[in-house]
Each structure stands twice: as structure tokens, then as C-alpha cells.
Amino acid sequence: MIEKILDITGRRRAAAEVFQAERLTVEVTFEAGKLKTAERKTLLGAGLRVIHEGRLGFAATSDLSRVEDLVENAFSAARFGKEAGFTFPGPSASEARASFDPKIEAYTPAEAVAEGKRAIEDLRGCCPKALTDVSLAASVTSVRLANSAGMDSRYRTTDFRHSITSVIVEGDSILWVAEGGEYGVLDLRTDEYVGKIAERARHAATPAPKVSGKLPVLFTAQELPNLLQSVELGVNGRRMVKGDSPLIGREGERVLGDVTLVDDPFRADAPGSRPFDDEGVASQRTVLFENGVFRSFLFDLDTGAQAGCPSTGNAGRGMLSAPSVAASNLVMTPGEADPGEMVRSLREGIVIHGVLGGGQSNLLAGDFALNVMLGFLIRDGEIAGRLVDTMIAGNVYDAFTSIAAMGREVKPVGSHFLPDVLFSELSVSSR
């Protein structure tokens, strides 16, 4: 199909790029401790970009029998499309490899059922009031990218998603305790998840006294992306060329505290690793912040061209969508603190295990206000109960300049790799 498309577009004197992906997923779901669904899903799609008479057009299809319509739609779009400030790249090579684990490819629904049952049995034993949902999903994705500049490359990648969520309803109180992860290789952590859920559920049984004021707040790595999203928006090259990133013109300036954050598509076995990005640009490692000093935005071909910089290899796309700027794996350099020691060091403070975000008017500027779904008050280094009706608020850029300690372990959180971070003080209010 790709050959046919490139043939037609070539004859019409257009540069062209075809992105084709197919994803197979095996998934098993338990609800309230009962096995509910086993699924075998296929999703495929192809996206075509053409540059015709200097203008960019895009079309996509999940109906691979409609090649002519796909091409026609792309040319129609190019009549109105923006001027292309870039050309499609030729063949590229990088050392980066997509994660691939044959054990994920071979993972069977029966194995997922057995693994899920084990979690449910264990939690029934140690946490009898909880009803537990479990989901296990193993996917294999094949990607092929070809363009009229001679690139034609492909890779296969695997990913594995596992989540365990226990809910305890008592009167009008609903407690959710969840653990899970997304990995590039088969990484079954049922025992770890069960242990953490049981421990948190046990601590949550005692309500904490109300607290208000400026307090040290320990964000567990799992919850840190809620804060990092502002910074991720800030480094997005699209926001830079549109003029609304607060980081514009601040390269070389110390913007954060002692934080080093890197976009790293080379990280072994990580879900965001790949040899080239979704426009065919060779993967590269990009330092975003080095000891708090802002170093670089992330660019795709289009935003890079507008900014007068090369692409940093950060184009991402869905199966049926046009590419846009996206991080690969975001890796934060860890600190030296022992996680338990960070808690024990707190005379009064809180630990966050779950938040509800409500949207923010000033997300780009870094403002946040989060409702604590699951968090604990710490007094004299001990857990003093579960926080109820508590909000934490502040500014992300301010928060990251006053870090008290960072955990020494980097934890995988999807395509983020982050330590626990103890902020010296955030505004906390309980109702």
C-alpha cells in the first residue's frame, strides 16, 4: 500500500510521507473481584502527509482499501494547508531501540487471568473490606514510516499495562487505592502493588486532623506528572513558536531548583524509546533542564523550522492523527534520600498518593490547585491519618525551586522516570 501511495504522490509532483501502524492488544479485566472481560483487539491506521506546491496536507484512514480516497483527501487539504517550512528527512539511523519483549508478544489471556486472580485473592486476604478491579493488557505495535526522501523504516514495540484498584465504600465514604504501571517489557509487580495497596488502605482507616498553612509536601513519583505537566507544556516547541510559553528567551537561566530533566528515547525497555520519531527523525537525547538551568525546547520538524532550530526528534502521533510535539521518555535525575527517611524527617507534613485535578486557568504559568484523593498527614515522622477534603495549591516553578529532598530511586510512571520529591512548603488547606 505504501509503495502505491508514494507512486501516486510522486507522479503528482508532491513530496509525501506515510505513517502506518498496527496494534494488537490482549486485555483481561476484573471488576469488583470478578473476572469480567477478556479481549483481543486489533487497531490499524495510516496517515499521509503531502507537500504539494509548497503546502502541507494531511489525511488518514483505518480503511486500507481506500488508498485513492486517502490520497485525494491529502491533496484537497494541501490546497488550504500551511506552507511547509521543512522537507521530509532521508534515511536515519540512531542507536536507540524500541522496547521489545517476546514475552509480551506471547502473553496469553489465560496468564493474565491467573495473574489477576492472584492479586484479588491476596487483597481479599489482607484487605477484606475492599473490592478490587484489575486490568492487564499486553500490546504489540508495528510501525512503518516511509517518505519520498528515501526513508523506509520500521520497528516493532511492545508495552504492558497493569493496574490494580481497590475500592472501599463505607457509608458515604469512597476510598480508592490504586497501583499500576506501564512498561516496555513484561514486568509483573503484583506482589509489590498488593503490598502497597494493603498498607495504604490500612493507614487510610484513620482520618487525619485538619491542617492548613504552608507545609512540606512529599509527592510520590506516581503523582508528580500532575505538577510536571506545566513544565512539559512550557518546553513544548509549539508553545514557544506561538509565543505563550513562560520559558521563551530564558535558555541558560536557572528556572528551577536542582532539577535535571532529560528527554531520553534511548532508555532501555522504556515505553517511549524508539529508533526514530513519528516523522522519521533519528532519536536524540535532549537535556531540558540541567541543575535547574533551562537548556532546550522540544521540536518537531515544523516547530523547529519556525524557530530556526533542527527538530529534536520529538514528533509523536496517534494512528490517525497528524504529528505534533511530544516527549519520548522524560527522565529526572534522582536525589540521595531514602524514601522512608524523607517521611521520618517530617515533623509535620503531608504525603500525596492521589490527586484530583480540576483544570487550571494558568497551567502554562505553572499554577496548580489539586484536591487530595489519597494523602496522609505526617506528624513526628509517623503517619497520623488520611487527609479528608484537603486542597494543595501553588506554582510549579516556585515549588521546584524549593525542593527539600529527592528520593534516590527513579520510578517508572508510564514514560516518565521520576523520584519521589519532597517540596519544602506548599499551601495546604483542609475544610
Binding site: 463505607e170 465514604s173 494558568n362
Partner: protein
């Protein structure tokens, strides 16, 4: 298509099976600032088979129509693996029906050039405003045909047409970046996106107000919610809690959500109504072939109903409500809302304002979330109310609270019901966005925690 579907699931050894196929075409355009960043058309073809054996569901999806029979076998194999109890689906009458779109102007009959010209007009107006640093103007339409065939004999073909725009202006003053925005979208056709110039002026006014607005001072206030925000509030606060898939396997949750329980004052009436033709959440038949209908969730302040799939209704001994919905034929149907509404009361907006000495008028919707017990959501813009009058603009008005308390704190329900669809929708599990409408009159809530 009917033959393909019948053949695919004929003779399957399952307690129940269904096949769904979807063919769709979607066009979208997006301006950011003066530049048309995206323009394109997407063709979609896909389907799935779902089978139930001894209470376990098997599901298999496909894109190539010729894969339908193999998917049917895979779904059965999966269902056998998952089935450990008994299949209890609430009975429904098989339906044979063809439903046409209610859209007056089918966007498929409108040229790409005309769509671009319209969007450009709105966007140009925003770009021309002097304090606006950038904009985001998105147009999207989707025309789809959905086929559903069940092993019980239902055969339904539904045509649906969606069209909408999302318009946003961004002002920046140093690190302070503020957005004014509105979104329009439903199943009424291309007319929904036409003649919105007055709304563009509203967006610019809101943006100008926001960039000079102070942050709200946190605290507990009486709050008047505009119809859009009140609609989102009822969706988040009661709608999700009314989805029976949360309660049907959980005895404590069932007790918490027992019918007859008081949820608000006598004058509070809340419905979910999938039968409202043209609304974003209009669902003539859900993805199990159950007709959409008006379901009272709260009547005179008491819980009177909930939202069901055939499975949740069967297990709870209640009637299916037409709320089993999937975002596309690549996903299985789960319990979802359609159009969720607070029914109008008698208070005029002016009379409502008159009751508020020192409070907040919170408007529009930026984002929100619920864990079913608590909710938190942000208004897009807001104003202070002083002695019954709307005065200065405020930003960062984020409302949060306990679902059960807050519904009981509803003090007044207005007489000016308005529904809002839009380009986005509702997210649940891995399925987002699902088109829904939320609506309400203005409502006044006594004590709300504002951050």
C-alpha cells in the same frame, strides 16, 4: 452489511453475541494564531464482536471487514475463558430499525473551502484583537453509520452526524496567561457552527476580563453557577455516581445509592435523557440496541433511578435505560451518560442574584474530575457578586467539595434551562471523548469551597 453481520455471528456457541460495524468520515481544521495548523480528513472503518458465556464477556475488534468471522470466534474463545458464573442480561425486545441523522445541513455537503472560510472568519476576528497573543480555533465534523446486530435478532442501522467548533483566545501579561473559550457541538448539523460571531465577541470580552482579573481569594462562598457550569456540576457530582457499573457488584455502594435516599432539596430534579433529538448525547439506540429514554435520577430531591447497561440492570433486577455506550466500534459498551440535566425551577436569574450578598458567579467550564465522593472543577471565568450585583471579574475559581453535602446545599434552581454539547465530551476508563450534553438553569449553591 446485514448479511456480513448475520453470517459472522450465526451459530456462535454463546449465551449472547453482538456485532457492531462502524463506517465514518471526519474532517477537522485547526488554526493556532493566524496559521491553519491542521486540515485533514479521516476515513474510519472498524468493527467488533462481543460475546457473553456464563457471565463472562469476550471481545474482539477488527478493521478489515473480512476479519469479522475470525473476530467472532475469538470473542467466543475469550468469553469462554472469562465465564465463571451465569449470564444475567435484562431482557429487551429485539429491534429492527433504521435511524437517519436529524442534522438539517449535513456537513458532508459543505465544501472544505466553506468550512475553512467560516473558521477563518471567527479566528481572524480573535487574531485582530490587540491583546491576543495566540488563538486556537478548531472545527470538526463526523458523519458515521453504525450497524448493530445481536444474536437475539436486533438489526439496527443508525446514522449520526456531529459538527462543532471550539474557539479560544489567549492573552498574556508576563507569566500570566489567560484563555477565553467556548465550544459548540451537537448532532443538529452544520447550522450549529454558523453565525457564532456574537459568541466570538463574548470570548474576547471574557479574555479581556480575565487578564486583568485578580485571583479569587480562597474560602467558602455562596456560588451561582451558570447553566453550563451547573450542567457540568450535575454530570460530575451525580451523573457518574448514578452509573450502575459502580454499584452493581458492590453491596456497600448499593446501600449508599439505595433508591428513595434523599440527595437534595424537594425542588431538585435531575434527569439523563438520551431521547433528546439533536443534542450531543442523543442516543436513539445505545450500543446494545436499547432505545435511549428519559431517566429520572433524582425526583423531588430523592434518588429514583440510575443508568444501566443490560448487564447491570439484569444483576440489579431493574430495567435497562439505554446507557450502554462505546466511543467507537473499537471499544466495548460501558455505562455512560447521554444528556444530563437539572430540570428548571421557578427562580429568575435576577431574583437569584438578589439573594446573594457576598458571593461568586462562576461561569463556563475549564476542567473537572470526580472520585465519586469528591469533585473538583474549574470555571472558565467568574465574577464577584456584591449585594445582588455582578461586579469585578475573578480568575482561578476552582470549586471543590463533597458530592453528597453539596447537592444538599443547592438553594435555588433557576427557570432558564440551557444545554451545552461541544467538541469534547466525557472520559471514563480508556474511552474518551464520548459526546454528551450537560444542561441546567442557573443554580445557587449555599456553601462551596472555592480555591
Amino acid at each position: 452489511m446485514e448479511q456480513i453481520m448475520k453470517k459472522a455471528i450465526a451459530g456462535l456457541d454463546a449465551d449472547y453475541a453482538e456485532i457492531r460495524i462502524e463506517r465514518a468520515e471526519s474532517t477537522s481544521l485547526a488554526y493556532m494564531g493566524p496559521v491553519l495548523e491542521n486540515i485533514g480528513t479521516t476515513l474510519i472503518l472498524g468493527g467488533c464482536v462481543r460475546a457473553c458465556i456464563r457471565g463472562g464477556w469476550g471481545f474482539a475488534s477488527f478493521n478489515r471487514i473480512e476479519d469479522a468471522p475470525a473476530s467472532a470466534r475469538a470473542a467466543c474463545e475469550m468469553a469462554r475463558l472469562a465465564g465463571e458464573n451465569s449470564t444475567e442480561l435484562a431482557p429487551v425486545e429485539p429491534v429492527v430499525a433504521t435511524v437517519r441523522s436529524v442534522a438539517e445541513i449535513d456537513p458532508a455537503t459543505v465544501s472544505l473551502e466553506e468550512k475553512r472560510t467560516l473558521l477563518k472568519r471567527y479566528n481572524d476576528r480573535m487574531v485582530a484583537e490587540k491583546d491576543i497573543v495566540t488563538t486556537n480555533a478548531v472545527y470538526r465534523d463526523l458523519k458515521k453509520t453504525l450497524w448493530l446486530h445481536t444474536s437475539e435478532g436486533s438489526m439496527i442501522e443508525q446514522e449520526k452526524v456531529y459538527a462543532g467548533v471550539h474557539l479560544m483566545a489567549v492573552a498574556r501579561d508576563g507569566a500570566n496567561v489567560q484563555r477565553g473559550m467556548k465550544s459548540f457541538g451537537d448532532q443538529r448539523g452544520f447550522g450549529t457552527v454558523m453565525d457564532r460571531d456574537a459568541e466570538v465577541e463574548r470570548i474576547l470580552k471574557i479574555t479581556r476580563d480575565l487578564i486583568r482579573a485578580p485571583k479569587v481569594e480562597g474560602g467558602v462562598y455562596p456560588v451561582i453557577l451558570d447553566p453550563q457550569l451547573a450542567g457540568v456540576f450535575v454530570h460530575e457530582a451525580l451523573g457518574h455516581l448514578s452509573e450502575a457499573d459502580f454499584v452493581y457488584e458492590n453491596p456497600q455502594a448499593r446501600e449508599m445509592m439505595r433508591l428513595g435516599r434523599r440527595f437534595g432539596p424537594d425542588f431538585l430534579n435531575i434527569v439523563d435523557d438520551g431521547s433528546l433529538a439533536g443534542e450531543n448525547g442523543y442516543t436513539p439506540y445505545d450500543d446494545e440496541g436499547v432505545p435511549g429514554r428519559k431517566n429520572y435520577l433524582v425526583r423531588n430531591g430523592e434518588l429514583t433511578g440510575r443508568l444501566h447497561s443490560r448487564e447491570t440492570a439484569g444483576k440489579m433486577g431493574e430495567t435497562p435505560t439505554g446507557n450502554a455506550r462505546a466511543i467507537s466500534a473499537a471499544y466495548r459498551p460501558i455505562v455512560r451518560m447521554t444528556n444530563t440535566i437539572i430540570e428548571p425551577g421557578e427562580t429568575s436569574f435576577d431574583a437569584m442574584l438578589d439573594h446573594v450578598r457576598n458571593g461568586i458567579y462562576a461561569c463556563g467550564f475549564l476542567g473537572g474530575n470526580t472520585d465519586l465522593e469528591r469533585f473538583t472543577f474549574s470555571s472558565a471565568y467568574a465574577y464577584r457578586i456584591e449585594n445582588g450585583r455582578i461586579t469585578t471579574p475573578l480568575r482561578d475559581v476552582i470549586l471543590s467539595g463533597n458530592v453528597f453535602d453539596t447537592l444538599n446545599q443547592v438553594a435555588m434552581v433557576g427557570n432558564d434551562l440551557t444545554l451545552f454539547g461541544g467538541l469534547g465530551g466525557c472520559g471514563k476508563g480508556d474511552q474518551s471523548p464520548l459526546p454528551v450534553s450537560d444542561g441546567s438553569p442557573h443554580i445557587c449553591i449555599q456553601n462551596v469551597l472555592v480555591g
